[in-house]
Symmetry: C2
Subunit: 374 residues, 2 copies
């Protein structure tokens, strides 16, 4: 069973550095210690061409890091690239014993309208008039109606995640917001508002993944990848049976849990591109029954000190969502939490965690279960 033995992160946000510099910043600690032991570099990135006018990013990164002799490639699965890259590394580690994963995206070279247009290019042509933010708004409306969920419960996700993000020195938005502030922020897509969506962020995250047999030679606290689940759904969001569910998340969770032989986890990092997504996902990963996730938020169950903490890092909502970096950063957070190194946002007694990295609107979901034992 592969293990994560080192991790690195840049601060997320509007950064002046370019895509190569960000990749290097997140990797510098790992590379300075272990460069000569790394057999493969996997770069998780979606849009270096569209955002940065750069292709062949993986080879440019290894050159930039003076690791010219290490083979590399890029894995792309849009918003879910990070989780997918880790899954790929997980299955390649038997051959390439030490794999460096670098997730990176430099988004702020384009303006919001351009970024939204580029990301909408992942939708099928017939649905491009929509956008991911508007699909999330539709999900919120349908969810509230179907389950009689309060509007406040959805906004409360942003309150919680900004609270956590304020404790995370790497988060994009390190500022608490009140329920009133969330509900009075500008409408992005009715009914959802500004603070309920992830901002546009630059950033990078890195992991060193090795075969478990040598994990303890790298660190005395390896974090093991106990289970990996990947599942897929149609790209036509409007053709799904119900928009208040994301079946690929449920299926990927089941696969990962089965492999991990784990039934419950101590915390989860979910893909909260919009607040409503965290609620629906919290049901799909089994933290709550269908239609009850919103109550869990209202009752504080998903807070840092709650019974089932979600997004202790601040989530995409407050930490930010540099596309290719996000899924990798989730596992950086799990690595810190499980090692007891998450500082003020430490989940007490965290020994197992779940991360969900999601392409598009659940077109492809990757769930990882991590823990302190093989």
């Amino acid at each position: 069973m592969p293990a994560v033995v080192a991790a690195g992160l840049t601060k997320f946000g509007k950064r002046k550095e370019g895509v190569l510099e960000l990749a290097a910043e997140a990797s510098l600690d790992i590379v300075s210690k272990f460069a000569h032991e790394i057999d493969l570099v996997i770069v998780s990135n979606s849009y270096s061409g569209e955002f940065n006018g750069t292709s062949g990013l993986n080879n440019l990164v290894t050159t930039y890091l003076s690791m010219d002799n290490v083979p590399s490639f890029r894995v792309d699965n849009t918003s879910g690239s990070g989780g997918t890259a880790i899954a790929v590394a997980n299955f390649m580690v038997r051959r390439f014993k030490r794999i460096l994963i670098i997730g990176v995206e430099k988004m702020s070279e384009r303006n919001t309208r351009q970024v939204t247009k580029v990301i909408s290019s992942l939708l099928p042509e017939g649905e491009r008039a929509a956008s991911l933010p508007s699909l999330a708004a539709l999900m919120a409306k349908l969810y509230m109606k179907k389950y009689e969920a309060s509007r406040e419960s959805i906004a409360q996700v942003a309150v919680k995640n900004h609270f956590n993000g304020a404790l995370n020195p790497f988060a994009h938005i390190q500022k608490r917001v009140s329920l009133e502030e969330v509900l009075s922020s500008p409408v992005i897509a009715e009914p959802l508002r500004l603070y309920e969506y992830t901002p546009i962020s630059d950033g990078a995250a890195s992991l060193l993944i090795v075969d478990d047999q040598e994990a303890e030679s790298f660190t005395d606290k390896p974090v093991y990848i106990k289970g990996v689940g990947m599942s897929s759904d149609t790209s036509y969001v409007t053709e799904r049976q119900e928009l208040t569910a994301i079946p690929s998340v449920r299926e990927a969770t089941a696969i990962a849990k089965r492999e991990a032989k784990v039934d419950r986890v101590d915390f989860a990092e979910l893909h909260d591109m919009a607040t409503i997504l965290e609620i629906v996902q919290s049901e799909e990963i089994g933290f709550f029954k269908r239609g009850e996730g919103w109550r869990g938020v209202m009752e504080g169950i998903t807070e840092l000190g709650g019974e089932k903490p979600i997004n202790p890092s601040g989530g995409l909502n407050s930490k930010g969502h540099p596309i290719g970096a996000s899924g990798v950063a989730q596992v950086v957070e799990a690595f810190l939490q499980i090692r007891g190194e998450a500082g003020q946002r430490q989940v007490k007694g965290a020994r197992t965690g779940l991360t969900l990295s999601m392409a598009g609107f659940g077109n492809c979901s990757t769930v990882l279960i991590l823990g302190d034992e093989p």
Copy 2:
């Protein structure tokens, strides 16, 4: 040891179909027979964003193929994407038992100047004034000088590959050219001329790769992936020790041969983006001593009926080079050759073959050794 059990190809060339239609055309036979048995789809593609304004290509492809429930991702390694995607599949097949690889690129939506600019974006910023065609021209000049190679020997590669391509119904340019025609075609980058470079092509290629234990339940003639080698070099081409060598090709070949326990192969599909590259690569894969590849061409050794046939398919030079599809199409050719199904361009007695898929100018090389036995 994984095996290729089915293959598909579109005609390469200027095609009216879009990127999804091409991917589907190459995969249709495989999908219609085996759709319900496929566990994972890997799409090899580099530039769907830049060329087609499309992202999340892998999820759009699975939806287009009515395989919504099959997880997928995109592997990119620029010109070497295909070989890399197959290497990734090779190492993931233990978990995902049947993997469909689809290599695809739709280039003709942009004009030649735009395509060249996009591809040059894989060079480090300091070298973007150059382009891959001009680097090849520099290599040709240095090679001729260092080894006293004749100009004709280099052009003869184009004569040979167009001869082979004329026998390949899927090739872009199905037309023989004489040495005189090659040497009087327009200069692209002194001294190399039009017929010595790969054209800009659209196209797609597909492979079904399965675990060897069940290979024979799919076909009575599986083609086994006996060895895989990946190796890397600096992105700064002008900083390499000598420009008449491509060390990553030599290293990747050594790794693949060691794993395959094979010393010689019956034919090779090389990455002849320009004629000179085939000559240098033919030395790096061990067909000739350094500095003697050009003599091999002049003596006909690399022709279809020669002792060491290279690019029986016509190579990139005549078959075309849809970036993400090329490396996959090489293995389609190896599959046909080893099964004795290559028609008029059949290499007699072909039981083992080598394919070389190369990113950039040898920034990353993937060598595969294929054969009719595990």
